[in-house]
Each structure stands twice: as C-alpha cells, then as structure tokens.
C-alpha cells in the first residue's frame, strides 16, 4: 500500500541548516497525531543521519514514506562512502574532523544511536560512490 511520502534535500555546505529536514518531519508527524514516543525516535534517528550527511558526505536526499503500519526513511548521499561498515557501527568510532567535534558532534555515537532508535536499519555503501541508509520504525 502506498503511503504519505516526503522528500527532503540536505544541503551539505551549510552546517547551520543541518536538522531542518528532521525538524520539518517532526512537525508533520505531530500534525498527523503520531505518538510522541515514535516521533522522538524518528526525530533522533533522522537528525543523526542528517548530521552525518552534512559532516561526512556533502549532503544528499532523504525520502520518507509513512503507512498506517510503518515509517520508512532512506538517506542517500554521494559522499566518500564507508570502507568498513561494521567498524563504523561501533560506539566511539569516528572519522570526524576536530572541527566537527568542536561543534558538538563526531563522538562516534551517530550510527549506533540511529540503530538504537529504529526497528530496522541497513547500510549500503561503496567507497567513492556514496552511502544509503535504510531505516524503519513500526507504528504499532
């Protein structure tokens, strides 16, 4: 069944705008009456992903689809890719620059936190081509 769909462009050149897509989706879900717990998990997972797209991959595109059963989020970038996904999933592992840490991010908690807040998460990445993260949160 086809559900509600939204697409967000993430500007990779402007750190100050990172989080706008997550914030916008949060408002839409709230207006639709989605439960606060689900909204919070979606917001955290998407915001972490959005920050990653800005600091590691020069931005990209986020596609969200919501049905009565689930919310699917697909975050696609054409950045440098992740050479070792298993390593990237380890809490504390980060390749972020010191400049990113000075902005409050880059502690190596993003991907593990995205996994923690979603029911399903899968990463496809090719070095030099880009990364796509698929996340699903069930509504019941």
């Amino acid at each position: 069944m086809s559900g509600l769909k939204w697409t967000f462009e993430v500007d990779g050149n402007d750190f100050t705008r990172a989080g706008e897509a997550s914030s916008s989706l949060k408002k839409k879900l709230r207006a639709l009456g989605v439960s606060p717990d689900i909204i919070r998990r979606v917001s955290i997972a998407l915001y972490e992903g959005e920050i990653n797209m800005v600091i590691h991959a020069n931005g990209g595109t986020i596609d969200v689809e919501m049905t009565p059963e689930r919310i699917d989020m697909v975050l696609k970038d054409t950045g440098k890719g992740i050479p070792d996904i298993e390593q990237a999933m380890q809490a504390g592992w980060s390749t972020a620059a010191d400049e990113v840490r000075s902005l409050g991010f880059g502690a190596g908690m993003g991907l593990p936190n995205m996994k923690k807040n979603t029911d399903e998460m899968r990463i496809e990445s090719t070095v030099g081509v880009g990364t796509t993260v698929y996340m699903t949160i069930y509504l019941s």
């Binding site: 750190f15 989080g19 919070r40 409050g104």
Partner: protein, 116 residues
Amino acid sequence: MDVRDVMRVLDAELICGEDSLDTEVHEACGSDMMSDVLAYVKDQAVLLTGLVNIQTVRTADMMDMVCIVFVRGKKPDEDMIALAKRRGMVLLRTDHRMFTACGLLWENGLRGGKSV
C-alpha cells in the same frame, strides 16, 4: 521545580521564553557534546551547556527539552534565539561554570536520571 526556579538558583539571565517559565522540570543533563545528548538523554527537560551554535537548539528540540542554560556566561546568537522562540523553548544564561551550575541545581532537587 519549575524553570523560574532554575533561573533563580543559577542567578541566570532570561534570554527568551518568558511564557514557559512555569513549566515543571524534574531532570537535567550537562554536556558540551550534542552526540552524547542525543544518545543518552531520555526525559531530561533542561540542558546545561557551554556549546553555542544552532545545533545546540536543534538537539534540545529533537529531545523535546524545554530549557537550555548556557553556562560560563556564553551568549547565543540571534539565529539561535529565533529558533528557540519558534519552538517555545526557554534560553537562560548564567555566569556559573558547568560543575557549579549542575551542583546548585542538584542541591535544589533537580536530578539527572538513571545511569546509562
């Protein structure tokens, strides 16, 4: 305690959010690392931080927090204040350092939530 109590205990300056000063708060967290806030915060309604950029406000918004206290006299810029106003969030500023600010709030009944 409510946000007005937080303001009083920390001898803090109100930057914005006057309409929300009566909001009850029970738990807080202190961090300059937004990654940690996103990973470990659960029901903490107050964020104490020395980090001043727009993502501080966005992070607090994602976590449904009601108040940010900038420690060490840090000043948020106009973009941060505008975003906080749009989200109905209270911004406070205190000259206390992080450790002292957290200690004063603890002493007055605010807690930090469960261990990770």
